[in-house]
């Protein structure tokens, strides 16, 4: 016990000293703290990291932020909210970062956003989809880049409502993301199509779907259309069982995120055709902004971008734009700069709304198809985020007063 206390002190000293060494360097550079689930979700976070590294390189090549070099200090949270907070604390207390960015999982995004509120730090959430982060549990220190659950649902509902199908079933992972995706989709869909009946719902545990019985149970309810929210390995299992058992034959399927290369590419030649999905068809976007991004990305990594690459790239680009506009690292000035700021992106110009701090980054909606033994998105069109958000009056009601 005695010896142990000394280790403890030694560790403390070491950490304190390294902290001092860091702050001496801080004059000529601006630091952004970045947190993500690198070890838990490498399939998404690897391209994401490549994306933001490209952004950092471009920003510094163009002279940095107000003449100062931009440095991103990146930490892994291992998929645990508590560890994300430890990392956030280290970034703020020891690394003296100007702002926090990143996070993937919704609960981690919320944990860091609550930390940001308590410690009065600017936080730009990159990936988390939960509506709570900008609405029910929103706070003035937190901004979010990716189109939220609500926005993705609204984009899909627009297409789904055109389908003749009346009997619908849902399959979604049993956690907040799946639950709220289904709830929003059902609400918006029933508003547009009061004639619809919901005949079955399946809630397999995230990452542990027992696909055979689930597919069989959905088939037994005999729906005309299916809403799918599963992704990753669960999606692969669901698609394989569904294909073999003929679940998707003569049925329409609407599916969240499935068009993103992260989730579509692993399906290879088993990609089901004709699903209505949100995603990122990097191969068919023909705009100058995207061409420039694509060329730079492929030149640097000799690989194609995933949606994560876009999110990582745009997170740091937005952060840099906010820092440049604010001309300061004071959180209040950053908030003032970020509210309403317009930033260029590979998908065209986006802005961060003053009312709820949500960015207007959109997503592509299209249909899945098979080409040369690989899954792709066809008939794609870009949906601007701004068109799929509720009215300001509704948002006012959703967000807590401060």
């Amino acid at each position: 016990m005695r010896a142990s206390r000394y280790y403890f002190l030694g560790a403390g000293l070491a950490i304190a000293l390294s902290g001092m060494a860091n702050s001496a360097m801080a004059q000529s550079e601006i630091k952004i703290g970045e947190i993500n689930s690198y070890s838990l979700l490498p399939a998404f976070t690897d391209p994401y990291r490549k994306g933001w590294q490209l952004a950092v390189e471009e920003i510094n090549a163009a002279g940095g932020i107000g003449g100062k070099k931009l440095v991103v200090v990146s930490k892994d949270d291992g998929g645990k909210p508590a560890d994300a907070q430890t990392a956030a604390n280290e970034l703020v207390s020891s690394e003296n970062v100007a702002m926090l960015t990143g996070t993937f999982l919704s609960n981690i995004g919320l944990a860091v956003s609550d930390f940001a509120k308590e410690k009065k730090v600017f936080f730009l959430a990159a990936e988390p989809l939960t509506d709570a982060i900008t609405w029910a549990k929103g706070n003035r220190y937190t901004f979010r880049l990716r189109p939220s659950n609500y926005m993705q649902a609204a984009m899909l509902v627009e297409e789904a409502a055109k389908l003749p199908a009346k009997r619908w079933a849902t399959i979604a992972p049993n956690y907040e993301y799946g639950q709220s995706a289904v709830a929003v989709f059902k609400k918006l869909m029933s508003e547009k199509r009061p004639d619809i009946v919901w005949v079955d719902e399946q809630w397999p545990p995230q990452g542990k779907i027992d696909a055979g019985p689930v597919v069989q149970a959905v088939a037994a309810a005999n729906p005309e259309a299916i809403l799918n929210v599963t992704f990753g390995a669960d999606l692969v299992k669901l698609v394989r069982e569904g294909n073999t058992r003929g679940l998707f034959k003569d049925r329409s399927v609407v599916s969240f995120l499935t068009g993103e290369p992260e989730y579509l590419d692993p399906l290879k030649d088993e990609t089901p055709e004709g699903w209505i999905v949100t995603g990122y068809p990097w191969y068919s976007i023909k705009t100058p902004e995207h061409d420039a991004f694509l060329k730079a990305y492929q030149a640097k990594y000799n690989d194609y971008p995933r949606l994560g690459s876009i999110v990582g790239y745009e997170t740091i680009k937005s952060a840099a734009a906010i820092l440049t506009k604010a001309g300061s690292t004071d959180p209040e000035k950053l908030i003032a700069a970020a509210e309403g700021i317009a930033v260029p992106s590979p998908f065209g110009e986006i802005s961060f709304r003053k009312i709820d701090h949500q960015s207007t980054l959109g997503a592509f909606v299209g249909k899945t198809a098979l080409k040369d033994g690989k899954g792709i998105m066809v008939d794609t069109s870009y949906r601007k985020g701004a068109d799929y958000l509720p009215s300001d009056a509704e948002v006012e009601k959703l967000r807590p007063k401060e």
Partner: protein, 628 residues
């Protein structure tokens, strides 16, 4: 009607894959008494190796041959692990092998990403079994039919192996009574190695067979390992038929359960396990474990209270620790608070595990209940912080009282698994009851009040509470209650004969440990400002086990050292590298080999050896020899 038949067959197919992996685990445990946490890692390796082989060699021979070769390759890896690592630690304290296999699991998770890349991999479909068979308008995948047949075939082969071969007879004998088998001159080394190889082969084969249905990914191991443990325990440890029946039971209940309660999958196996263990304490087909011949009391150095010099030293150490705010910044202090909180948590598990002899696999439940207690009181009732801190842990206390009552009726691994089941039930309530607990988005905004909101004040609070709790638990170890508890641990029959009510003593210890864990959880909620279902989860329970084992399960202060070393190292590694699991796993494996009794255990042995050499105390020397 056809639908129900097909649903039944689908359940059987799921059962077959579960059974293959579970049977391997069951055999390994039965003979070597190793709780092989790495079994899931071998399953995953089997899938990855099979993926590579089947991509490389096409055709029916390439596919089926690839599966078998993959399982053989992984079995060879298993043999290597057994010979290099596990052989060194068979004589370590119970469950120490769990630590080694846990370290391995961590390493494998990072290694597969390094070798095979981060993307999910889609394996080939089985040649000839790609389609489905029509059954009165319902489709049954032909691969499912193959699995349905394969399960009983493997069961039959294993049965023949165990009933009709000399090796099988030895394995069964060792399962019933290993000491007797050793005394009869059987070469245990090779028996254990061969059993381990067979077990790993089955796990890897189970993984390889998933290729046509699953996506090969780096999280496969965690997905299966807990379920497999549960299946083995429901069936009865060491019983192959039990594992088969349990796999079928669990899979069918799931297949039909989701028709009525679509959200049942998340908790089903644990509900079944809790129900089975309460009714049948040794699983469906298990028998009561033969009483261990070695009296554990003789294998440890006798415990004694601190001498006055050591007490003084502990006080000095505490004062030095309390001086950290003079030199450390905010981050160091927050890490310090977190370490102090985990010292409480580890000490509480240590009290149950080392003093009470009851290893809990679900101790995080009481930590998390304490945290949720605080969060609910603070957010819903709006009580002041000091009241929350005092009342919050009571939720942990109540939880421990209820679950402990059932759990202490069992012992050994069955006790451990019942605590795990209870913890998972509590976890799923926190996860599902969105209206109260916020589900997996948790409860936010549980920040400390002004008087302790600065990092240094909170650090002093955590350190002070940690010192008090550790001291209190230590006093209890050397109180009459502690002696009664240790007596019950070391010899239930003798302690009963002198009038000790063993079950009640153990129950009390469970409640004390649960309450102490609740105190840690309560502080943790304020440290992080939020509470999530994670705080009740399996990985936190495993962390606590690792801390106690790392420090030394047979020592009095091991938990404190184990918690400090593990937590500080963990935080540092996660901050420094994305490969933290690989490094941490490697470190644990090294510790296991270098300190086969835990850090404090080995230090104490060295010190005692020195002391006994100088004082020539014959009694102490002989005891230590028994220990080795």
């Amino acid at each position: 009607m056809a639908f129900y038949v097909v649903q039944f067959l689908t359940g059987l197919a799921s059962a077959a894959s579960l059974f293959l992996v579970a049977s391997g685990l069951s055999i390994i445990f039965g003979v070597t008494r190793i709780v092989n946490f790495a079994h899931g890692a071998f399953y995953m390796l089997g899938a990855y190796v099979a993926f590579t082989l089947t991509e490389r060699f096409s055709g029916a021979l390439g596919f089926w041959g690839g599966m078998v070769v993959a399982a053989l390759v992984v079995a060879a890896v298993g043999v290597l692990v057994e010979m290099v690592l596990l052989r060194r630690i068979y004589h370590s304290p119970e469950l120490f092998q769990l630590l080694a296999t846990f370290g391995l699991t961590l390493m494998v998770e990072d290694l597969v990403v390094l070798i095979w890349g981060p993307n999910d991999l889609l394996g080939r479909r089985a040649p000839g079994l790609k389609g489905a068979v029509d059954f009165f308008g319902q489709n049954i995948p032909s691969y499912d039919l193959f699995l349905i047949v394969l399960g009983p075939v493997v069961l039959g082969i294993l049965w023949l192996l165990f009933q009709r071969t000399r090796w099988g007879i030895l394995v069964r004998a060792a399962t019933q009574d290993r000491d007797m088998v050793a005394a009869l001159g059987v070469n245990q080394k090779w028996l254990f190695t061969s059993v381990f190889a067979v077990g790993v082969f089955l796990a890897a084969l189970g993984g390889a067979l998933q290729i046509p249905r699953d996506a090969v990914n780096h999280a496969m191991d965690l997905r299966i390992i807990v379920d497999v443990f549960v299946v083995v325990v429901i069936g009865g440890l060491g019983s192959i038929i039990g594992a088969f029946v349990a796999a079928v039971l669990v899979s069918e209940l799931n297949a039909f359960g989701i028709l009525i309660f679509p959200k049942i999958s998340i908790i089903l196996v644990f509900l079944v396990m809790a129900a089975v263990l309460i009714v049948r304490p040794w699983g469906l087909f298990g028998k009561q474990e033969a009483a261990a011949r070695r009296t554990p009391g003789l294998t440890v150095n006798p415990w004694r209270p601190l001498t006055s010099g050591e007490r003084l030293a502990a006080m000095v150490a505490l004062i030095v620790a309390a001086a950290l705010p003079l030199v450390g910044g905010n981050y160091a202090l927050t890490v310090g608070s977190e370490v102090a909180i985990f010292v409480i948590f580890a000490a509480s598990l240590h009290f149950l595990m080392s003093v009470g002899g009851l290893a809990s696999f679900g101790h995080a439940a009481y930590f998390g209940l304490g945290a949720y207690g605080v969060a609910l009181l603070a957010k819903m009732a709006g009580l002041p912080m000091i009241v929350c801190l005092l009342l919050g842990p009571l939720l942990g206390c109540v939880g421990a009282a209820v679950f402990g009552f059932f759990a202490v009726q069992l012992s050994g691994v069955y006790f451990a698994m019942l605590t795990l089941a209870f913890a998972q039930i509590v976890w799923s309530i926190a996860f599902q009851w969105v209206a109260v607990t916020g589900g997996d988005n948790g409860i936010l905004g549980v920040w400390p009040e002004k008087w302790v909101s600065s990092a240094s004040h909170f650090y002093w609070l955590s350190l002070g509470v940690a010192a008090l709790v550790v001291a209190a638990l230590r006093v209890m170890v050397f109180s009459p209650f502690g002696f009664a508890l240790r007596a019950t641990r070391d010899s239930p029959l003798r302690s009963e004969a002198i009038g000790i009510n063993g079950k009640r003593i153990q129950w009390t210890a469970f409640v004390i440990a649960g309450t102490a864990a609740g105190i840690a959880g309560a502080l943790f909620a304020y440290l992080k400002g939020s509470v999530f279902p994670d705080n009740l989860g399996i990985s936190l329970s495993v962390d606590a086990l690792v801390m106690v084992l790392l420090g030394g399960v047979e020592t009095v202060s091991g938990a404190v050292v184990g918690a400090i070393v593990y937590k500080a190292l963990n935080i540092w590694l996660v901050s420094q590298t994305d490969l933290s699991k690989l490094v941490l796993g490697g470190f644990i494996v090294l510790i296991v080999v270098a300190f086969p009794k835990g850090i404090v255990g080995v230090l104490e042995t060295i010190r005692n050896r020195r002391r006994s050499a100088s004082s020539k105390s014959a009694l102490v020397t002989s005891r230590i020899e028994t220990a080795e």
